[in-house]
Amino acid sequence: MYWPEEWSDPEQLSLLHGTPINCLVTEREFPSAFIDRALRLGIEIVLKGTRAEVLWSGTSGAAWKSPAEVLAISDGVWPGVPATREDGGASAGPTGVPWVDSNGWRIRLALAMRPSKPVWIAVGSPKKVGVLRKEDYVLAVADAAAYGGRWVIWLDRELRDGLTQRSGNALDVWRGIVETLRFFEQQSRQQDFRPAATWGVVSDFSGGNEFLSHEILNLMMRRHLPFVILEKSGAATADFEGLLAVVYPDREAPGRALERKLERFIRQGGLLVVNKNYPVPRSPSAGTDPYGRFRIQRLGKGRIAVSVQDLADPYLTVADAHLILSRRHDLFRLYNGGSVYVYLTRGDRAGLTLIQLLNYAARSSANLISLALRDKYRTARFRSLEDPHGKYLELQSVENGWFELHLPPFAVYALIELEG
């Protein structure tokens, strides 16, 4: 948590009593009495920029190989639906679905590049103008935690003043933050889960490839494509189990070992989506994508789709790739989803799947959400921040062999535990 500069009285540390918060980030030295009290309470203090164990960096240009224990991402966003129109409304994409700000892809990228090392989202104050609601804070916690990171809690002036005065409203917001933290603390087994993926994104995620590869991750989340991030240098030996398609957007050709691996993947039935100058083996043409932006060739049982021009628009790259593979291979579909993102992970323990849903509008919708699943499960338990204990939902068989869950309303976050 960013500890407010004006809270130098050790008594104010009582706010943290009984909470999962055990680390304070400060930008100045605090009095020794304060530090002593914090240490006695088991709370660590990190003076920003002084501890080698914490690397403060954006995902852009990040020193992924840094030996620092913690990566604190400083170019993240306050999650939510950004109000970018003059009337305060949200701007939308080509199909009218509002744009969403999420740190999910940043956290996932950081964990892929630095496995098992903690990732913080250290955004500080939001760009959003106006009062931050409790749900905005809850979403900030959930947006980081759902993907395996931690949000460095930042409190705006109004909340700080309210907590100082112990106002009812401020304490309610604080309780919301703490209860959300506790909810995720109790889900510690999430660390044993891996992304369920039918898509792989292979890239060096840096240099001239950085913008495109990062935005592809962002937009894959938006499009609800279940993907795994494969850093290029290790991709030749990575596990491609379950993948139906791989996107390799880098301008440079892969190394020989990776090139052979990708060719094997295609020949065994996979789809590879690549940039214009990729060294494509000679093979029969299989036409183009519906918009003529990719040339498709058949190779063994699979296909390779080569961009006709240099890939420059990540939105179109992801949309086109999805179309070329086809929605026929979707793992799930969301109805009345609005600004909800879905993150599917599978546990090391066989038969357990977690589906996390984050509602970036941060308010319950009047439209009931349905989640359709391709695979069959025995049970589905639904939990939310409103109902942490949760309840079992009926898996309804629908046409085409799919199953549906009709979800109870939730404002920010819900978790579905699927067994079988």
Partner: protein, 378 residues
């Protein structure tokens, strides 16, 4: 003398003589049937209805048949938890049964058409996103195809079809080639009310024939845009003109209750409906889609079909508990002009039930009053 707008907009149609189809003005017969569900009862019921209309063979044998679906809104919008086929869209089993019956009547080729909201993606992908399986329809006929008609699609140019009576709003309209490249045109709609036009049935379904690349929010000013974006608001509001067209009377009201019914009738006259089928087994009342506040599920358990769209829609309107002779100010046309009246005035068919032969279940035995039935889900 052509304006620059008309000249530039017409470049895509160089060498094309605007096409006018002949209208079906034969005696109006409409089949009404009760059908309790989309299961085993559906196909025999629809077979009986087409027999009552004189069979499909004479209409479709060895011909290319286009079916305009009624897939309004996005693929993932639902009224509560109800799949779209039980609310705002015709049910996929009705679509499949229609394809099967046309194939059985020896249609040479069957093409499913729709202009899905704000996308040029293949229609099959839109169906998949909604949870439908396109293979289900492919399996119902020897040659079944799909086309997204919201843009140029697989055509090389748009087809300009002329409104035979001169038009209420425009003299002609530009369509995806599929509406011209068919011998028989079927409108397969849902039995619903509509926020702008009071009702949406086989005729209003054809508002969606028009590509958003020309008539949509993101359409080019002087020429069609490459891709569709948004809805056809310029036809609702009249705030700007579509590329290549000038309105007949630019001083006419800029109000959607005036404009949309007239555009609907123009479109239907330009590309007539040879067979109208309306799915009213499970539907929604209070509006045309889940985005309308106060919509609610309704179960009329009805199917309606006819070879004259005005007559078919008029019978369907009566089955919803409304008077097809009503006009602006009276339900269902409280805020708009009556599409039925305008269509009748244009010579497209009768709306007076006394001039319509209803076969099957009498209207009085089948009425489901939309304004008083159902409970709100929103």
């Amino acid at each position: 003398m052509l304006t620059r707008r008309e000249l530039v907009g017409g470049l895509l149609l160089i060498g094309t003589k605007p096409k006018a189809f002949s209208l079906n003005k034969s005696a109006a017969r409409v089949a009404v049937a009760k059908c309790h569900n989309y299961g085993s009862e559906l196909l025999p019921t629809m077979e009986r209805m087409v027999d009552q209309l004189g069979g499909l063979g004479r209409l479709v044998k060895n011909r290319t048949v286009a079916i305009k679906l009624n897939l309004t809104g996005t693929a993932t919008s639902r009224m509560g938890c109800r799949p779209a086929g039980l609310a705002q869209w015709p049910h996929p089993q009705v679509v499949a049964a229609t394809v099967h019956l046309l194939d059985k009547a020896s249609a040479r080729r069957i093409r499913l058409l729709e202009s899905p909201w704000s996308t040029a993606d293949p229609l099959e992908e839109f169906l998949l996103q909604a949870g439908w399986d396109p293979d289900m329809f492919v399996g119902c006929g020897k040659r079944v195809e799909f086309e997204n008609t919201n843009w140029l699609g697989s055509g090389k140019k748009y087809s300009r079809l002329v409104v035979p009576y001169g038009g209420y709003v425009y003299k002609a309209y530009d369509f995806n080639h599929s509406y011209e490249d068919c011998d028989v045109f079927v409108s397969l709609a849902k039995l619903k009310e509509h926020g702008s036009t009071g009702i949406t049935l086989s005729m209003k379904n054809c508002f969606g024939n028009l590509p958003a690349t020309i008539y949509g929010e993101g359409a080019g000013k002087d020429e069609p845009s490459l891709l569709p974006q948004g809805g056809r608001h310029m036809l609702h509001s009249g705030k700007r003109q579509p590329a290549g067209h000038m309105e007949i009377d630019p001083s006419s009201p800029r109000e959607e209750g005036y404009r949309v019914p007239r555009v609907v009738v123009d479109v239907v006259a330009a590309r007539p409906i040879d067979l109208a089928i309306i799915d009213g087994i499970e539907s929604m009342a209070g509006g045309e889609g889940p985005w309308i506040r106060g919509v609610r599920p309704i179960s009329p358990k009805l199917l309606v079909a006819g070879t004259n769209c005005v007559a078919t829609d008029s019978v369907a309107t009566a089955l919803m508990g409304f008077d097809p002779m009503a006009d602006r100010g009276t339900a269902p046309f409280e805020k708009c002009d009556s599409t039925l009246r305008l269509a009748e005035a244009a010579g497209l068919g009768p709306r007076d039930l006394r001039q319509i032969e209803v076969v099957g279940v009498p209207i009085a035995e089948a009425v489901c009053r939309y304004r008083s039935a159902g409970t709100s889900q929103m």
